[in-house]
């Protein structure tokens, strides 16, 4: 179970809608199983060079290379590292934990893609060394634009498991 204040759910959906058709992304703070705050982070994918794109691999890299820089952010996101670091510092200063990441899928369901899983595992490989708790991965789907959905997952050993969301007033 993951508890999220309704204002933060509204905020994440608004963020996804504001950036559509580009994917939005952000960080969530909190403690244990309760989200306290959300930080919007810039999706810098369109600004990445051809060489930078190789931080993605496999089919996603091929797909990205086929698209124009502007179109790339429709199917992927890359968080701005500086903003992510600033958010992490703010989270720490408030005595909270980095509890999760969120991003939007503009045209597909709220399920982790293969790229989401691969990069979640990349994060997992260094997370313990940075003393960060296991994160929740949240996805906002605008596939049905009049009815956005949001789902949370734990991703362990490349297997996503949905975690029910409990909306707090």
């Amino acid at each position: 179970m993951l508890a999220i204040p309704s204002s933060i759910i509204t905020n994440m959906i608004a963020h996804a809608r504001e950036l559509a058709p580009h994917e939005c992304c952000g960080i969530l703070s909190g403690t244990e199983h309760t989200i306290a705050d959300a930080y919007r982070i810039t999706n810098i994918l369109a600004a990445l060079s051809e060489q930078d794109l190789t931080r993605f691999d496999g089919a996603k890299l091929t797909d990205l290379q086929r698209l124009s820089p502007e179109e790339r952010a429709d199917i992927a996101f890359q968080m701005d590292a500086r903003e992510m670091a600033m958010a992490q510092r703010d989270i720490r200063s408030k005595g909270l934990d980095l509890l999760g990441f969120y991003h939007s899928h503009t045209f597909s369901p709220a399920r982790p893609s293969q790229t989401d899983i691969t990069i979640a595992m990349e994060f997992e490989s260094y997370r313990a060394k940075l003393h960060l708790p296991e994160p929740f991965h949240l996805i906002v789907s605008l596939e049905h634009s009049d009815q956005p959905s949001i789902r949370a997952y734990r991703i362990r050993e490349s297997q996503p498991t949905e975690v029910p969301i409990h909306t707090l007033p």
Binding site: L48, R55, F56, A81, T115, I119, K129
Partner: protein
Amino acid sequence: MIKVRIPTPLRPMTEGKSEVEIAGNTVSEIIDNLGSAHPGIKERVYDEKGEVRRFINIYVNEEDIRFLTGKDTPLKDGDEVSIIPAIAGGA
């Protein structure tokens, strides 16, 4: 020697190794020496202006170098440097 953690996308340049030992007194020296030992890696960490690329964070132990003294951050034996790409993903 300083232990340097290499992220997955850069491991083809370190023969697949996730950690390498590099000599250096500052983060800047470590990245220079890493680039000499493993050609191509420095260009993947720095942009054309010599700044750390916008999707990469460098940590000394558990602290981001932006909150220390950047690339001039001094290092001592036993410190660990981690090169970590910020979270990404996609539909």
